[in-house]
Amino acid sequence: MNKKLRNRSLAASFAILLAVTTACGNNNNGNNGNNAESSSTPATETASASPAESAAPSIDPNAKYDPPIEVTSVRYTDPTYKFKDGDTIENNVWTRAYEEELGIKIKYNWIVNGDQYGQKMNLTITSDSLPDIFQVDSLQFRQLAEAGQLEDLTQVVQDYGSDLTKEMIDRGTNAKSAATYDGKLLAIPPAEDYLGGAPLLFVRTDWLQKLNLPEPKTMDDFIKIAEAFTTQDPDGNGKNDTYGLAASKDLFGGYPDFSGLMNGFHAYANIWIKDASGKLVNGSIQPEMKNALAKLQELYKAGVIDKEFGVKDGGKAAELQTAGKVGMSFGAMWNPLWPLQDGVTKDPNAEWEVYPIPSVDSTPAKAQSKADFNAFWVVKKGAAHPEAIVKLFNLYNEKIISEKAEPARFHSADGIEFFKYALMQGGFGTPQGLLSVHKNVVAALQAGEDGSKLNPEEKSYFDKIQLFKGGDRTNWGTNKVFGEGGSWAVIGANYVDQNLLMKSEFFGAPTPEMTAKQAILDKLVLETFTKIILGAPISDFDKFVSDWNKLGGEKVTQEVNDWYAKKS
């Protein structure tokens, strides 16, 4: 349970990170095409000429409702929501803007803490008391869509969406496809982020230098470094108490994450990839996985991996690593902020570098990544004003992302984050995502600017990086994520520019057989992989593959392929 909590707080901080960057409409990046936004009445009149709307008089997407309409919704808050000047969640800069600029009054049927939202939403669905506009997860979305309880948004987005809104909806093809059911767009899709979870390799470079080792360019280099870190006493305390590679009982999950090492063997754990015949198959049961497991077993036997990793969760693994006992780990781009920062703060000599996944052969390794689309904004079937959701989203994009953004009024000031008050916020990011944040920050750093041209969020990273450069090691993590040579630099230069990303081809809601069998299959994967790493015969893998298929994997594969055929 503590692991779950930690994951949740990680997820939360990452969500905040994402949300914080929503204002990165980068003023430097002038050609977003949103200059046509809102003032383009002629364009919308063309849109309104579509047959479905021909009977209606021309649609003005910017028209204010007069008299004002009331839209019901539900939402979550959390203790990070702060207010000033007597504002409340029901009366703040956003609700006033909704009323003054759009003529929309939001009425919340209920407001709960973030961690109770899913359950409360289930209850609301069950008791048939849906509000007009609300957010659901992927399973709820599929169930509501199947039951025909959601309004089709295809036309209202066409008619009322600003150019920026359309760009935000269209930028992620997979996210949009996940929000589509039966050819109808039933939700405003979340951001599509395939980069934030891609595995990277983190290496203690002060140990590398001490032992005179090369950088890990290939899997062989990696193995040599791992063994040297284990046996050659890199921390110099005269005891054989260091490990080459971090590991936890969960094997995967952002930190420490074995999927990075598996990717080096062209094996992809738990994601759906295309095989030679074009069918989707699960990466965990492919023959390449056997090689990766055999290598992990070897590393475990050699003492490179903590003998006790099988009972330690990520938090326990992090304790070992931040105590300066572990020299390498695979994990997602945020790892420098947690857990590496803790170790760097404690030990003035500790220095980590970020590397792309090393490959076992001449084919470059592809980093696996999966985008979970789990936040859909939907409208109840039969709501009086389905277009309100589009208008609200227009306003959000205009005030936060567009050229005309007013961050000091709508985003944040003096540590109070106004953007959180907006009904639809968080998880949308920008059309360009965090990679562009990194690029803008680095550009400003290299040009020697004072960062005043950056938006408030980029500026906050910029300032932290400046502090780090001034010798403040508590801001090391921010520099290692967003600064030069950091996580995003490696992701950009390798995974994006050289197209070395292996995306999971499946991104729909869980299929029926998945819902029924995923827990059993997960258990089988974890149990088998752990036992093989701990020394069970590698031939167990073949039995595992047939078990996996028998226990429901075959049927899941069939359903995933049916989904894929239907999608394309």
Binding site: K307, V311, K316, T515, Q518, I520, K523
Partner: protein, 299 residues
């Protein structure tokens, strides 16, 4: 005649009414919800709209490949827990009862009672550390006697043992207090009479103390039998790992992964229903036996 009686008792009825209503609403009301165990429950269709599927959920559960192993683990662990959780507190209570120095007795009582207040989330982390084969204090102690380090939490044979011992360690202080209370209730005159008859300490324990404790022992055993299918979710959830699934995975952890993480409410309800039925059978059975064998009635 009847009316005045009702009037006289009215305040009492009013006082009991709130709890009566609460029990009705929160304990009896939700029983209706058990019907989703027989449905293919969908949150969109709701409790009254979801299609009935008869025994499908139960059928599905008993056809899970690991179900029998999981049931075996659950029953095994909980029976060991019940047995150890019965013997240890009685012994400790008897021993404490012989302690003459009140201050010392209180001190011991408080010390053994303390772990009861710690949650398994905290104790899980502590146990992983003290049982570690490389740095844990237990294995370092064993090492003094030349015993090879044992990977207690990563070894399928040791895992249930660790679970039982740590549970007893955490909870025996609590049960000890209950037994001490029972001991305090024994009439001192009986001991005086026994001493006059020439009974030594051991004979006194055997013929006065233990028989005096029988009612409370029977009560606690009867109640704990209802827990045969509860092997302690929070404890095992915080200690187990894929390495020890074969001996440590219990019904509750399986249902957690299956029912809650995957939102299969029908299945989770079906399992809960089975557990309740088994509990009620065991409790009424043991109550009947206690009545027949010891002529003891709780109610």
């Amino acid at each position: 005649m009847i009316k005045p009686k009702i009037r006289r008792q009215l305040p009492l009825h009013l006082m009991v009414a709130p709890s009566f209503i609460l029990v009705l609403i929160f304990s009896y009301g939700p029983i209706v919800g058990l019907m989703i165990a027989f449905q293919k429950f969908s949150i969109v269709k709701g409790m009254f709209g979801s299609p009935f599927v008869g025994w499908d959920n139960f059928d599905y559960m008993f056809k899970l490949p690991e179900i029998w192993q999981v049931i075996r683990n659950t029953v095994g662990i909980s029976i060991m827990k019940i047995a150890a959780g019965l013997v240890v507190p009685i012994l400790v209570a008897l021993l404490l009862n012989e302690v003459r120095k009140q201050a010392f007795k209180r001190w011991i009582q408080t010390m053994i009672y303390l772990p009861h207040f710690l949650s398994w989330i905290i104790l899980g982390g502590v146990l992983i550390d003290i049982l570690s084969p490389t740095s844990g204090i237990v294995n370092q102690f064993l090492g003094l006697f030349g015993i090879e380090p044992i990977f207690f939490l990563g070894n399928a044979h040791w895992f249930p043992v660790v679970v039982v011992i740590s549970d007893v360690w955490k909870e025996f202080g609590f049960s000890t207090i209950v037994y001490l209370a029972a001991l305090a209730g024994i009439n001192p005159a009986l001991y005086e009479a026994a001493v006059i008859d020439g009974a030594n300490r051991w004979k006194q324990t055997l013929h006065i103390t233990l028989p005096g404790m029988i009612p409370i022992i029977i009560l606690l055993v009867t109640l704990s039998l209802g827990n045969v299918l509860n092997a302690g979710f929070d404890q095992i959830f915080n200690l187990y790992s894929p390495v020890v699934y074969e001996s440590g995975d219990i019904i509750d952890t399986l249902v957690y992964r299956l029912g809650l993480e995957q939102a299969q409410y029908s299945l989770a309800t079906a399992v809960g229903l089975i557990k309740s039925v088994v509990s009620i059978v065991l409790i009424s059975g043991s109550y009947y036996l206690a009545y027949r064998a010891a002529n003891y009635r709780i109610f």
